[in-house]
């Protein structure tokens, strides 16, 4: 399992409009809910799971990237929502750098292997500073998908 297995233009939002950490997470979840047609109750369960994980420690990993994630059995298979913000968001990253690129990763509890592999794939794919800059400058979801496919 890697980024390309789950990258879906309908699950990419450019730009994100929120100006704080919680708002970004809510917006990413809303993007998923809209694309997949989840109910308000399901949406709440997903959001609660992501916020509960975030309460253990920030998922801002530095380099302008944050990867909020959680297990949720509302989700049928490992899913990724990718959002790019034009604003710099304080995600409590260890390097103190503000974040602009956000990957929301959700997986059913019984797909731990795929979940772990996807998170590792995201971490690997974002090690290049140039690639991160290109992502930050992407104009729309199509351009984001194109960058990964290059």
């Amino acid at each position: 399992m890697n980024v390309l297995d789950v990258l879906d233009k309908d699950l990419v939002k450019v730009p994100l409009l929120s100006s704080d950490k919680r708002g970004i997470i809510v917006e990413l979840v809303e993007t998923l809910v809209k694309a997949k047609g989840y109910s308000p109750a399901q949406s709440d369960l997903i959001l609660d799971a992501v916020l509960a994980r975030e309460s253990l420690g920030s998922t801002g990993i530095g380099g302008g990237i944050a990867i909020p994630h959680a297990k949720s059995d509302v989700i049928e298979k490992v899913t990724m929502v990718l959002g790019i913000s034009r604003q710099s968001i304080d995600f409590d990253s260890p390097d103190g750098e503000m974040s602009r690129i956000f990957f929301l990763v959700l997986a059913p509890s019984k797909q731990a292997s795929a979940h772990v592999e996807l998170l590792a794939s995201i971490a690997r794919s974002c090690t290049s500073k140039i690639f991160r800059r290109l992502l930050e400058q992407a104009r729309d979801s199509e351009e984001v998908v194109h960058l990964f496919m290059e």
């Binding site: 292997s113 772990v116 998170l119 794939s121 690997r124 090690t127 990964f148 496919m149 290059e150």
Partner: protein
């Protein structure tokens, strides 16, 4: 060169395509009278990467390690049941580490003459870091590799 294959190893990771691969491997082993080993690798390399990158906190790493071990038991047990269905002896092996590395070691140790894989994806990007573990295994295996396409026909044929 040993043909037909005497010692087949099939890699499973819980994905649908790896389940197709195990079915195919069982049929292949049955028809050729080969020994069959199913291997699942708990990807501790990926877990370490996630902790190092700050994506996982310590408590989360422990939780996922338990989840991965349960996944391994579940899928290896499933492989045993499928083999039993076809009255074939199967050995199941649970390993930990860097997937292509430990699978390569297992292939050498067993003297395997065929590795069966599912889930090879089309080349969609030139970016090396986007290669999957399965892709890496195919490239590094010390023996011939058979890639099983995820195909409904294999499921139907197995159940027949």
């Amino acid at each position: 060169m040993g043909v037909p294959f005497k010692q087949i190893v099939v890699y499973i990771d819980g994905s649908e395509s790896s389940m197709t691969a195990i079915m195919y491997a069982i049929k292949l082993a049955k028809e050729h009278g080969s020994s069959l080993t199913a291997v699942y690798v708990i990807n501790t390399k990926a877990l370490s990467e996630l902790v190092k990158a700050g994506i996982f906190v310590a408590v989360e790493r422990d939780e996922y390690l338990r989840d991965l071990a349960l996944d391994a038991d579940r899928y290896l047990h499933h492989a045993e049941r499928l083999a039993e269905q076809k009255e074939l002896q199967i050995e199941t092996v649970k390993l930990e580490g860097t997937v292509p590395v430990v699978v390569k070691e297992l292939l050498k140790t067993k003297g395997a003459d065929l590795l069966v894989l599912g889930g090879i994806t089309d080349i969609r990007s030139r970016r090396e870091e986007l290669a999957s573990e399965t892709d890496r295994m195919m490239r590094t295996a010390p023996c011939p590799v058979l890639v099983v396409r995820d195909d409904d026909d294999i499921w139907f044929e197995f159940e027949a």
